[in-house]
């Protein structure tokens, strides 16, 4: 695949009356991993929410082009079914809904939205087990209620399972590494690296270099006060690690 999978042009976004994103530009081609780093309050999570269609935030100008389609005004489910997946920083608990039932429901919704045949129960079970095995998730966990009583690490692992099951073309990892211990970080990053191919890309939002060391991003972007203020190679993450964000303010 050639060209950009995602193009964000001069994006301005408000939360209530306050402008959070102030003319953000970003391009992500196919088959690349990009990272965004930035201080607290710079707008990283707002960006991921806006890309996912969260109506709590208002796009006042600019546009988001995904797969050559303007998704700026699309609903969250429409964006998701086009193949954009956000791994949440704080995954929500949904009592009473088992992980397996949830995965089946979202997988079916995705297949139907894309005109594909829904997998039968035994094929789907086999498909989910394959994905779960990559992350070391067993059948007992699949019977648990979605994120209910999960530790932070378990929730992130479960987010990664959803990612593997939906197999999107663009994945946004919103601080997926926070709350993960060393072993869990290895499992999740290995899962992501295993997914990467010529037809997809990743946008990793993080505070820490550790995940980037594992994912080897093509580009690192520095987001400060609602704008990308610098973009560069992985060495930019080293610079942040050593000197912090002070020099970008």
């Amino acid at each position: 695949m050639s060209g950009n999978l995602l193009e964000i042009n001069d994006l301005h976004v408000n939360a209530g009356d306050k402008e959070i994103l102030k003319g953000l530009n970003l391009s992500i081609p196919f088959n690349e991993i990009h990272a965004i780093m930035g201080p607290n309050g710079s707008g990283k999570s707002v960006l991921s929410n806006v890309l996912s269609g969260n109506e709590d935030y208002k796009v006042t100008s600019g546009q988001i082009i995904f797969k050559n389609k303007n998704i700026t005004e699309l609903k969250p489910n429409e964006i998701s079914n086009l193949g954009l997946f956000m791994a949440f920083q704080y995954p929500l608990e949904i009592p009473g809904v088992t992980i397996m039932n949830f995965l089946k429901t979202i997988h079916e919704a995705n297949r139907r939205a894309n005109g594909l045949e829904v997998l039968g129960p035994s094929d789907f079970l086999k498909y989910v087990r394959e994905k779960a095995e990559i992350l070391g998730i067993n059948d007992e966990v699949l019977k648990r209620q979605l994120n209910v009583g999960f530790s932070g690490g378990e929730k992130k692992r479960n987010e990664t399972l959803q990612l593997l099951v939906l197999d999107p073309v663009l994945t946004i990892l919103d601080e997926t590494d926070s709350g993960l211990d060393v072993d869990a970080l290895d499992i999740v990053s290995d899962g992501i690296v295993g997914m990467k191919n010529e037809e997809n890309s990743f946008l990793v939002i993080t505070h820490y270099k550790k995940l980037l060391d594992k994912l080897s991003p093509s580009k690192v972007h520095i987001l400060v006060d609602g704008r990308i203020v610098e973009s560069g190679g992985p060495d930019l993450a080293d610079k942040i690690e050593n000197k912090g964000f002070e020099s970008f303010n």
Binding site: K75, S80, F88, L92, P95, T98, F102, Q162, L166
Partner: protein, 376 residues
């Protein structure tokens, strides 16, 4: 409502010839009290007096009570075939002292059915109750579970008209277990009083799907008269538009090392109302009790109402007790989370509500057949 309107029911006392004097006294008690209303009930239940008024004009009639899937050694029969002792006959009134709907039933009811479950049966027994008339019906059902017996009952209350004032008595034997899956889809006015007596190591477990179309009240009184007995009552309440669903659960701990769980999960749309009142009553000398009561209500419209009143009377320190109530609209963050996985808003809401339901009645089973299509 004037008690004068009930005087004509005194005639019914003579229909069953036994214990006439005692029944007269209980009827007098009832006449003194009348049916519960907002004034003397002092809580947020619907007003039974005004709702029942149109049904009191006519005579008392019988309901249809059908028992199916009963294995050979377990029996279902009329009171007339095997009379109750005076103690058993008035057991509910002696227990309550003053509960007017029970007094009315015991004094004037002439339809008493008894189900004796003497042997464990693997398949569920089905009980169907229907009342179809423009009048009041006062059936009484006594369910006796012998010692060391396990049984399941699928119980369908589908009153189609009139006012059904039903009294159900459960006597659970030592080391016995009874599991009830109850569906209430009554279109008439329903007041159902369940009185549960639990002997040593016995277990009563009720999953209740309550979807009244008119107004309905379930009163469940569990009496832990044996040690290490347990009672669980979990209700999914989905009343129809302009309908009230009142749930009252009272867990009375008279013996040590007993457990109870009572709760309601309500989905309330339009101007429907659910009221949940629960009591944990632990007596002075009773040790090692565990009790939980909680409710969670989703209000899907500005006009929907949920009332919750968890209460505890605990006269002993050796108790573990939890209570809680959560009432509110749907969490928009949860909806967004599900929509961001590809679900349309409507389907995301239904999945959240389905989870709410499944947490009480599971993802499979008898009760799910009766759920509205959007939650199946």
């Amino acid at each position: 409502m004037s008690s004068v309107e009930f005087h004509k029911f005194r005639e019914n006392i003579k229909n069953i010839n036994d214990y006439t004097d005692q029944k007269e006294k209980i009827f007098d008690n009832f006449i003194d009290q009348g049916l519960p209303n907002k004034r003397n009930e002092s809580w947020k239940y619907f007003d039974l007096v005004s709702k029942s008024k149109k049904y009191i004009k006519n005579d008392i009639s019988n309901s249809e009570i059908i028992v199916e899937d009963l294995e050979e050694k377990n029996i279902f029969y009329d009171y007339a075939d095997n009379n109750l002792s005076i103690e058993d006959y008035f057991k509910p009134c002696n227990f309550f002292k003053s509960e007017s709907v029970v007094d009315l039933n015991v004094a004037c009811g002439n339809q008493i059915k008894i189900l004796d479950i003497k042997h464990t049966q693997n398949e569920p027994i089905t009980i169907k109750i229907d009342h179809n008339g423009k009048n009041i019906s006062l059936p009484r059902l006594i369910i006796n579970i012998a010692d060391n017996v396990k049984a399941k009952i699928n119980y369908v209350n589908s009153t189609t008209n009139g006012f059904l004032n039903l009294l159900v008595e459960y006597n659970i034997g030592n080391k016995s277990e009874l599991e009830i899956s109850r569906i209430n889809s009554s279109q008439g006015l329903l007041v159902e009083t369940n009185l549960v007596f639990l002997l040593n190591h016995s277990n009563f477990n009720m999953k209740n799907l309550s979807m009244p179309i008119e107004s309905s009240r379930l009163q469940l009184f569990s009496n832990h008269i044996g040690e290490k007995s347990s009672c669980s009552s979990k209700t999914i309440s989905i009343p129809s538009e302009n309908s009230n669903d009142d749930i009252l659960v009272d867990n009375i701990f008279s013996k040590s090392n007993c457990e109870s769980v009572s709760g309601v999960r309500a989905i309330l749309d339009k101007d429907s109302v659910c009221s949940f009142q629960s009591m944990i009553d632990i007596h002075n000398s009773v040790l090692g009790s565990k009790a939980e009561q909680d409710c969670k209500g989703f209000l899907l419209s500005d006009k929907a109402v949920m009332n919750a009143k968890p209460q505890m009377k605990i006269f002993n320190d050796d108790v573990i007790c939890k209570h809680g109530a959560t009432i509110g609209s749907l969490n928009e963050e949860e909806i967004f989370y599900l929509c961001a996985r590809g679900l349309e808003r409507k389907n995301a809401i239904n999945l959240i509500l389905d989870g709410h339901i499944s947490s009480y009645i599971g993802e499979k089973g008898f009760l799910r057949e009766f759920l509205p299509e959007e939650y199946k």
